[in-house]
């Protein structure tokens, strides 16, 4: 995406998830198709992990008619409600209230579905986030609030924008457990998310997972990241990459061979290349689509 965006062919804004993959993977691995997630502007990872079609996603990012949202949402609003993906969101903090709604729906209808919202460290300062923690607590909803703390709210470090203590500790103020998790460690995320999701499913109520992680690319594509220390991103890629760490551990433990991993990488690269090629070649939306789907019926 980084390379393709640089060619100028992709319209609008794109916010890349690179570096944070362990979080979406570790959390969504526990979710069923009938669970819902509400994502952020940085939603490609969440969409893939929740099972959205990659070709549909790519076509959407290119604004094409065959995109998941018929070219009308783009990267920032990528969604597939049928797969329980309530959309990437252009408003930070827009997801947590919708998460409460999902939880309320499950509770009223008596199902064991859960809702998960993803919010950045920046978004965690929005009133919506804090109100949602409170509402989910007083209504005892099956909601998990995942904070992806990559240390930056756009260009501002969390050292400046977040008051002194872990974001997870805000949950304590609402009588909800909040746990800090290393967002680079798939197994740590998987375990903690599993505990939170099982708890919610069993009626144990909401919880907060603060996954501390790093992003490699800018807030948006085109952001030169001059606010980061020189060499910071290179150092992180070298020492804290979640994919490298995962590969190292599973091969060292003998669970998976390096060959297996290479094969997966090749398959994924081929999938992505094909998706890009198809998206580029795909037709634009019909001009009449401008006026469709504002309402179910007007």
């Amino acid at each position: 995406m980084h390379k393709e965006f640089a060619t100028g062919e992709i319209p609008g804004f794109v916010h890349l998830y690179a570096g944070e993959e362990a979080i979406a993977t570790g959390v969504c691995a526990h979710l069923r198709p009938d669970d819902y997630i509400a994502s952020t502007h940085r939603g490609h990872g969440h969409a893939i992990a929740k099972g959205c079609d990659v070709h549909g996603m790519m076509a959407e990012i290119y604004g094409k008619r065959d995109g998941l949202c018929r070219g009308k949402g783009g990267s920032m609003h990528i969604a597939d409600v049928d797969k329980g993906m309530l959309g990437a969101n252009g408003i930070v903090g827009g997801g947590p209230p919708m998460n409460c709604g999902v939880g309320l729906s499950a509770k009223v209808r008596g199902t064991d579905q859960v809702g998960v919202s993803f919010t950045g460290d920046g978004g965690s300062n929005q009133g919506t986030f804090l109100e949602s923690l409170n509402l989910a607590s007083v209504w005892h909803l099956p909601c998990i609030f995942v904070v992806e703390n990559n240390g930056y709210a756009e260009s501002t470090s969390d050292r400046f924008h977040a008051s002194g203590v872990d974001i997870a500790k805000r949950a304590d103020g609402f009588g909800m457990p909040g746990v800090v998790v290393d967002g680079h460690d798939l197994f740590a995320v998987y375990e903690a998310a599993g505990a939170a999701i099982d708890r919610a499913r069993a009626g144990g109520g909401p919880s907060l997972l603060e996954c501390k992680v790093n992003r490699y690319y800018g807030h948006f594509e085109g952001d030169q990241q001059t606010y980061r220390a020189p060499g910071e991103v290179d150092e992180l890629r070298r020492t804290r990459d979640c994919l490298d760490a995962f590969a190292g551990r599973v091969t060292a433990a003998g669970e998976v061979t390096a060959e297996d991993l290479r094969r997966v990488d090749d398959e994924v690269m081929a999938l992505i290349d094909d998706a890009v090629a198809q998206a580029k070649a795909a037709p634009e939306p019909d001009p009449a689509d401008l006026l469709t789907d504002v309402y179910v019926r007007y």
Partner: protein, 395 residues
């Protein structure tokens, strides 16, 4: 210049047991408050300086809020200077290790640790013979105590300034030295070593007892929480005893003995015990080779493959200040009076009092300077205003 080191590890909130059990930890703001209280106790006991590991995530902020907000009675307390180590933080266990090494270089007379078993483990591996005051900051710890920090500060200060000390007041704790594949990986544990079938370190915490096959505990109290309690239910081992205990565990239905223990806060579980036997100091115990994780002091630390061989040996551990014993000793020796009035009026500190080497409990050699000897009878027993108490130095 008497210095005491303080390690207040801000890595709170990283405990998934808050989701799966009823555990809770002191938050970072509370830790900052504890350090402030600790400093009050250290200062009252005559410690001049606190050397502190930089503590992020709100601990330092909270501490500075307390320090700058002192009014009324609190403002009259003498506090040591606060010297925060100038070091870059990695925000993991390496920070505590580096801080302790720096404190040793500065020749601190003691180190107070505010943290859980994990933090104490790291500090103990690097502190040599510097005595530790071990303060718990959560409900799920076996090694450090839950204790009010002001009093802990006073006790630590009495030891650090040399007014009290020795066997019975500063005890040698036990430690397990752990090797994987010979000495290929060496680590240590202060409380317990366990092998769990959990495949990955993951969120570190151990809460699934059914996955644990073998464990060694340095001390075993039936009133503890965690693996130490399992051993304590079977064969209690006091902290002061030289030996430890080895346990082999199995699912309750397959075990000849089953005990119900508080394995974690809010969680009472049945644990099946196949075997329990004492482990002597220096004895090498080889654990069965199997894939899984090695957990040290309740946290999964090392992922093991089926061919990895683990050996464990009980060795001497860190020196730990017994706060109760120190304060009892201080009371008996009327050091608490002494400690606050002992300074000469020129402000110079002269260590005095019944000695810092092994004051035998219950017997206090008379000291000519001791006011009880020096005509205290003429004055009667009365409190003298501490001449060191003066308005706090600003800044």
């Amino acid at each position: 210049m008497i210095s005491v080191g303080v390690v207040a590890n801000p890595a709170s909130g990283r405990d998934v047991r808050r989701l799966v059990t009823g555990a809770s930890v002191f938050d970072n703001a509370e830790k900052g408050a504890m350090v402030h209280r600790l400093m009050a106790g250290l200062g009252a006991a005559g410690v001049d300086r606190v050397v502190m590991m930089p503590a992020g995530s709100g601990v330092s902020q909270s501490l500075h809020r307390h320090l700058s907000g002192r009014t009324g009675h609190l403002a009259a307390q003498r506090l040591p200077e606060l010297d925060v180590l100038d070091m870059a933080l990695c925000e993991d266990a390496r920070d505590s290790a580096a801080a302790v090494r720096a404190m040793a270089e500065r020749q601190v007379a003691a180190i107070v640790v505010l943290g859980g078993d994990g933090t104490h483990r790291v500090v103990a591996a690097h502190c040599g013979d510097i005595p530790l005051c071990a303060l718990s900051t959560g409900t799920n710890n076996a090694f450090p105590e839950l204790r009010e920090a002001t009093v802990a500060g006073m006790a630590t200060g009495l030891v650090a300034t040399g007014r009290l000390g020795g066997d019975g007041l500063v005890r040698r704790a036990k430690r397990f030295r752990v090797g994987v594949n010979g000495d290929a990986v060496v680590d240590s544990a202060l409380v317990d070593v366990a092998v769990t079938a959990d495949r990955w370190v993951g969120s570190r915490a151990l809460w699934r007892v059914e996955a644990i096959s073998e464990a060694l505990v340095a001390f075993a109290s039936p009133s503890a929480v965690g693996l130490s309690a399992v051993a304590g239910a079977v064969d209690p081992v006091p902290r002061a005893a030289p030996f430890g205990l080895y346990l082999s565990l199995a699912p309750p239905q397959r075990a000849p003995r089953v005990v119900a223990v508080a394995l974690a806060p809010g969680l009472v579980t049945e644990v099946g015990v196949l075997e329990a036997r004492r482990v002597d100091p220096g004895q090498v115990v080889a654990l069965a080779a199997r894939a899984g994780c090695l957990a040290l002091d309740g946290e999964r630390e090392v992922e093991l493959g089926p061919a990895d061989r683990v050996t464990v040996r009980l060795v001497p551990g860190p020196l730990v200040i017994d706060v109760d014993a120190v304060m009892a000793g201080a009371s008996r020796l009327q050091l608490l009076d002494q400690a606050t009035t002992r300074r000469a009026d020129d402000g110079n500190h002269r260590p005095t009092g019944p000695g810092h080497q092994g004051a035998a409990p219950g017997l206090v050699p008379h000291d000519a300077d001791h006011p009880r000897v020096r005509g205290a009878g003429a004055q009667g027993v009365r409190h003298r205003r501490d001449p060191r108490v003066r308005p706090p130095v600003c800044g």
